[in-house]
């Protein structure tokens, strides 16, 4: 069993949206503005010419943070949200009652309703598809042309992600909430 996480070299992102497309294709995500597991946030250039703030013009790929201490898992009344053996936060649609508590509790806005099953869905690092087939990559990572994403086992000291996290400075989002995210932004 692994302890999967993802490192994002986000400054390499060119906002081609290939990751979003690959995610939808691989996992059969419905179309629609609020039906997305992953996204790329776009910061526009701020300020007035010629005093433009070019640092504000950044791309921020993001998704479920796969928290080690996930608020969505804690608030689920029926254990529909659970940690699998790979440390991935997943949803069992059979148990989900669509009370939407997880959507409210998630600090990262990572959850949405799948209109086919009318249950709450989220990124599960391609657990139902690629990992289930025995692969050890995610669709978003494989397709990224600038290699923003590195997916791997945090417990394996020789994995690419472990080496990256040892050698590159990084930060995670909203760590003050105690969620212990497993998405790391490389600086």
């Amino acid at each position: 069993m692994a302890n999967y996480g993802m490192a994002l070299d986000y400054k390499n992102c060119i906002n081609c949206s290939a990751c979003e497309t690959a995610c939808k294709e691989e996992n059969g995500i419905l179309m629609g503005a609020d039906k997305h597991r992953i996204w790329v946030g776009v910061g526009e250039i701020e300020g007035q010419y010629p005093l433009l703030d070019i640092t504000s013009n950044a791309f921020h790929p993001s998704q479920c943070q796969q928290c080690e201490n996930a608020p969505c898992e804690e608030v689920c009344p029926t254990h529909a949200t659970y940690y699998d053996d790979n440390g991935i936060v997943r949803v069992d649609p059979d148990k989900c009652i669509l009370c939407s508590y997880c959507m409210n509790a998630c600090p990262y806005d990572a959850r949405y309703v799948d209109d086919r099953t009318m249950t709450v869905d989220k990124c599960n690092f391609c657990s139902d598809t690629r990992l289930a087939r025995g692969e050890t990559t995610t669709a978003c990572q494989t397709t990224c042309p600038t290699k923003v994403r590195t997916f791997g086992d945090l417990d394996d000291p020789e994995s690419e992600i472990s080496i990256l996290l040892r050698t590159r400075e990084h930060y995670s989002l909203k760590t003050h909430l105690g969620t212990k995210p497993k998405l790391f932004y490389l600086t």
């Binding site: 503005a33 609020d34 997305h36 996204w39 790329v40 946030g41 776009v42 910061g43 526009e44 921020h60 993001s62 608020p71 804690e74 608030v75 689920c76 009344p77 029926t78 254990h79 529909a80 059979d94 148990k95 989900c96 009652i97 669509l98 009370c99 939407s100 508590y101 959507m103 409210n104 509790a105 998630c106 600090p107 990262y108 806005d109 990572a110 959850r111 949405y112 309703v113 209109d115 009318m118 249950t119 989002l173 909430l177 105690g178």
Partner: protein, 403 residues
């Protein structure tokens, strides 16, 4: 043994109850107005439920950023009413405070019917209510405030139904025991409902100790408003001496509890605004300048009833009955704001432009179907109360006064 006798063996029903008696009532203008209003509201709710059954959550205006809407607020509104009636009625037959025992049956019946109306609303909000019943039992999420709230409310409903049955049978020993059980479990359930919001670490405006405590206080105030309305309607503002005495007492109690509530709210907002913490101070300032809070919660829900109760020392009963109407409207806004304000601050993590412009505040207004089911459920509640009033003798007996 006829069916009537069998039912009578379990819980005594009125001798004059029949289908004919159910459909006949004194045709005063107020009664006719209430009948048309209740049936109209109920039909409106039925229409809403029909549309919901065809379209599911698409009939609602809830979104990814604002997953809880008016239906959750209305559920809270009803269960707050239920807990409030239960707490106030327990003053009499649990704590034996003189003068309160006479409301026992009517208040407990009110508590049963309001929570049933609440369950009716939440049944059309929870996406899979049948799955909920099954997996609540076979896969309990013990760290979930919703699990505790739902489970405890189930036990609470059982207790207060048994409490009513024993009250109706004049069995004051058992009714007191189930009354204590209902009170303890009811308070636990209700404060857990507060914690559903209080536990949200992602929402600084809701997170903390305030809601679980405030829910109990505001439940008692809701219970008092409803008792003024129920008894005002029952006696058409011409009260027998025992009831008048009781209403004087709860008038004073209302002034005290509203003063405490205003005090609580004052400190809640001072601590929220102080220091300017993001997602807390800005949201609090937004709430403080919003019409639902200023005119709904503050003016209708607190200030008007408080001024009347305080200046008359709780004795302006007729004015307080009317103030209870504004009070209940204010309580509705308290519930609506509670749900809406908790989700006001956008949490679109790093989504600065991709799918939509980042909103300053998350926008939500209920759909017509949400309004139909939520507000229509008040009609369901009044109809249930009308039937219960015809079916059971809810008035007090001399025995109630002595126990």
């Amino acid at each position: 043994m006829s069916l009537r006798e069998k039912i009578n063996n379990i819980v005594p029903i009125r001798d004059d109850f029949s289908l004919k008696s159910l459909l006949s009532f004194e045709k005063t203008p107020l009664n006719v107005f209430m009948a048309i209003l209740s049936v109209g509201l109920f039909l409106w709710m039925s229409y809403g439920v029909g549309v919901y059954l065809n379209h599911g959550h698409h009939a609602y205006n809830v979104t990814r950023e604002h997953p809880w809407g008016l239906m959750i607020a209305m559920y809270v509104f009803f269960v707050v009413s239920s807990t409030g009636l239960c707490i106030i009625s327990s003053f009499g037959h649990v704590f034996k405070i003189p003068g309160f025992a006479i409301i026992g049956k009517r208040a407990i019946m009110g508590a049963i019917l309001t929570i049933l109306a609440g369950f009716a609303v939440i049944a059309f909000e929870i996406g899979h209510p049948v799955t909920m019943v099954i997996y609540n039992v076979v896969s309990p999420g013990l760290t979930s405030a919703i699990w505790w709230m739902g489970t405890l409310y189930g036990i609470y409903l059982t207790f207060i139904i048994l409490e009513f049955i024993f009250l109706a049978r004049n069995d004051h020993r058992w009714s007191r025991l189930f009354g204590i059980g209902g009170l303890v479990v009811g308070i636990a359930a209700h404060s857990n409902l507060g914690s559903v919001f209080g536990f949200l670490v992602a929402r600084p405006i809701a997170n903390g100790v305030f809601y679980p405590i405030y829910f109990i206080l505001s439940a008692m105030i809701t219970g008092l408003y409803l008792l003024f309305l129920i008894y005002g309607f029952r006696y058409k503002l011409k009260f027998p001496p025992e009831i008048q005495e009781f209403l004087y007492k709860i008038g004073k109690l209302l002034a005290l509890l509203l003063a405490i509530l205003i005090f609580f709210e004052g400190w809640r907002f001072l601590t929220a605004v102080y220091g300017g913490m993001p997602e807390r101070a800005d949201v609090a300032l937004h709430i403080l300048t919003s019409a639902p809070f200023l005119y709904g919660e503050l003016l209708l829900g607190m200030v008007i009833p408080f001024v009347i109760a305080f200046t008359s020392k709780g004795r302006a009963t007729v004015a307080l009955v009317f103030a209870s109407i504004t009070g209940m409207i204010g309580i509705f806004f308290m519930r609506y704001d509670l749900v809406n304000d908790s989700q006001l601050a956008p949490m679109m993590m790093l989504k600065k432009r991709e799918y939509q412009l980042e909103p300053h505040w998350v926008d939500y207004f209920p759909s017509s179907i949400e309004i139909a089911i939520s507000i229509g459920a008040i009609g369901l509640c009044i109809i249930l109360y009308y039937v219960a009033d015809k079916l059971f003798d809810l008035d007090y007996s001399q025995e109630d006064i002595h126990h």
